[in-house]
Symmetry: C2
Subunit: 193 residues, 2 copies
DNA sequence: ATCATTTCTTGATTTGAATCAAGGTTTTCG
DNA sequence: CGAAAACCTTGATTCAAATCAAGAAATGAT
């Protein structure tokens, strides 16, 4: 039998004991999400955290001037949501939207608190996971100014070629931080080589 | 008696019980750091986490091409370090350097694990704190492309005017993501108004 | 299959910031 | 105090990406 995607993720960052897993899984519900559905908006107090079983989500921000910037894409086997908003009941600064028909596990605040309190290994997993997320975001931030759009595109091509296949290029452009026209030209230059 | 800076920070994000504090504090050592001292480099496995009692640190990244990007500044009453590196014993992607003579509390990995295991409120504090850090970094990432250097400068001026006073402008420029020349021109434009 | 919508490409032009270069300030330190 | 170093400003030029504009290609819906 195939190991559950969530258990795999929990064990990828921490020695999460398999026998605790059913107790944890009970605290989730399954939900289907249609392509383009926005699961929460900027300003909302986020009610759930989301673990993606199938599909893909984007998290993005829209500036007062109406400029949209995609901050990251979450694929199956990863989390999305805004924990700070859920836990402290503060407005989320980002929105999250399905870019494909998706299936997710959702857990509400009460169940999350329950899990953190009663399943110490879940708390440890969360601490480690977040540490790793922060490190990755530092790198992402560092690269905004130290690498060229060309380099960012090639990096995506190497590290997450799957993303390039499942997403329209204008979303990739927003993520990289250029206009679709510029990304188109980058691609032209790069394929000629 | 003045409340300890660290206790203040712990209680700012979580109801940390004061009576647990002495037990936690025991796990730290005090260390003085000279201006310009680099407490860890990119590639190091970071040995401690740092809570700043006095002074200011910068965390930065240097690209293969030698371009330096400051990711954030940490002032007294805040943490710095690279938890992912310390906990998982992986190379840090950033370096951290004192920009003033500073005084810090340091805690090593063993003591950190001890604290997480034995002081549940410290674990909870960490989870919440990290959630908040991630939210802030999302915002910072979002703003890299959605706001102009002008706006970023004015935002600093509003939100952390103290930073502008204690740091040289070329560091602010690196943080904002422009050259010192450009920042100089931005400032000229803005003071004339 | 066909039409409509969405997405992508290409070209011409503009623009904001980088770069290059040099002089002026301020701070540091012997 | 005075010299050296560090930091900041200003100007001229270059350059990469944004913008503007239009058309091509792909996708989806009926």
């Amino acid at each position: 039998m195939e190991k559950h995607l969530l258990l795999k993720e929990l064990q990828s960052r921490h020695e999460f004991p398999e026998e605790e897993f059913p107790r944890l899984l009970e605290l989730f519900e399954v939900r289907s999400i249609q392509k383009n559905e926005i699961i929460f908006h900027t300003g909302d107090i986020v009610k759930y955290c989301y673990f993606i079983l199938k599909g893909c989500m984007q998290q993005y921000y829209i500036s007062p001037e109406g400029i949209e910037k995609i901050i990251y894409f979450a694929q199956e086997g990863t989390w999305t949501g805004e924990m700070d908003s859920m836990i402290n009941e503060t407005p989320s600064i980002v929105s999250t939207q399905a870019v494909e028909d998706s299936e997710v596990l959702i857990m509400n605040k009460a169940n999350w608190e329950n899990a953190i309190r009663n399943i110490p290994d879940f708390a440890l997993y969360q601490i480690k996971k977040r540490g790793h997320t922060i490190a990755r975001m530092k790198q992402q931030l560092a690269q905004t100014t130290t690498t060229t759009p060309d380099q960012k595109y090639r990096q995506l091509l190497n590290e997450t070629p799957d993303l390039l296949q499942r997403l329209p290029l204008y979303k990739i452009a927003s993520y990289i931080g250029v206009t679709p026209e510029t990304l188109s030209r980058i691609r032209k230059r790069n394929t000629r080589l």
